[in-house]
Amino acid sequence: MSWQLHRVDDRLIHGQLVIAWGHVYHPQRIVVVDDASAENEWERDLLASAAPDAEVRVRTVAEAAREYAAEAGAGGGAFLLVPDLATALALVEAGAAVPRFNLGGLHYAPGKDKINDYIYLDTADRRAARALIERGVALEVQDVPASRAQSLTALDPLIATA
């Protein structure tokens, strides 16, 4: 079964992922795709310690794209996690056939517009989102399994013209 959730979340592994999503899907592996974290031993250890019930793999975009298809056929379930839409797009452009991304947390930073309580986007984010959609990747906004998934384009009409 492998890939159970592909998520964009700037907090990477944290309570919502491990407690809320983890208790629904019980993933055996969590693949964090982030070039900066992959090259930092401290970050890798930190991410691993945040999900004691799963094997945490921290990968660069290039590594994750290479391993994506094999993981899709692996036993047990897996989550894939990226920190932002630019990384999501880079992963897809590098060859990972991700069908959809769950947008779970892109928090406020200067210059970003509020889409809802946990999603804030600027022009670069919107361009990445549009490029993903044009590649056939669905983008759904949903923080936890108990809340309703909403299409990003329905929440933010500016995506269409980004």
């Binding site: 907090r11 990477l12 309570g15 401290w42 947390g105 892109l106 309580d117």
Partner: protein, 130 residues
């Protein structure tokens, strides 16, 4: 011995509520800072934590609500290069024990004391027919 300062980093307004609750038992509380992760990205939360602990002249304690949450992982990142001890799973008994002992212990000794206190604070009692 110098007082060990503390920062409480939690989800939502748990930290502020804990501090209000503890004040009802202990009396007015000073020297404990509170920070919520609400609305903050990972870098922003790390920056807010760093700004507070950097004001401590000789280290201190950061208390977080649960191990593995964003509050905790961000504190871990910040603690990497600072004289900070982290205690996860903060509750009312732990916070009270901190207030009662923060002038008598060094940072790490106090952290160990609070861990023990927190673990001992969860007890079971049977009601009728259980």
């Amino acid at each position: 011995m110098a007082r060990v300062p503390a920062l409480l980093v939690t989800h939502a307004d748990l930290g502020a509520a804990l501090l209000r609750a503890v004040a009802q038992v202990y009396g007015p509380v000073d020297g404990v800072e509170v920070l919520s992760n609400e609305g903050l990205s990972r870098p922003a939360l790390e920056q807010e934590i760093a700004r507070r602990v950097d004001g401590w002249p000789a280290g201190g304690l950061v208390l977080t609500d649960f191990f593995g949450g964003s509050c905790h992982t961000c504190v871990q990142s910040v603690a990497r290069q600072r004289d900070v001890a982290i205690v996860t799973g903060v509750n009312l008994p732990t916070l009270l024990d901190y207030l009662h002992n923060r002038d008598q212990y060094a940072v790490w000794d106090l952290a160990e004391r609070l861990q023990k206190k927190g673990q001992e604070s969860i007890r079971l009692q049977r009601g009728q027919n259980v």
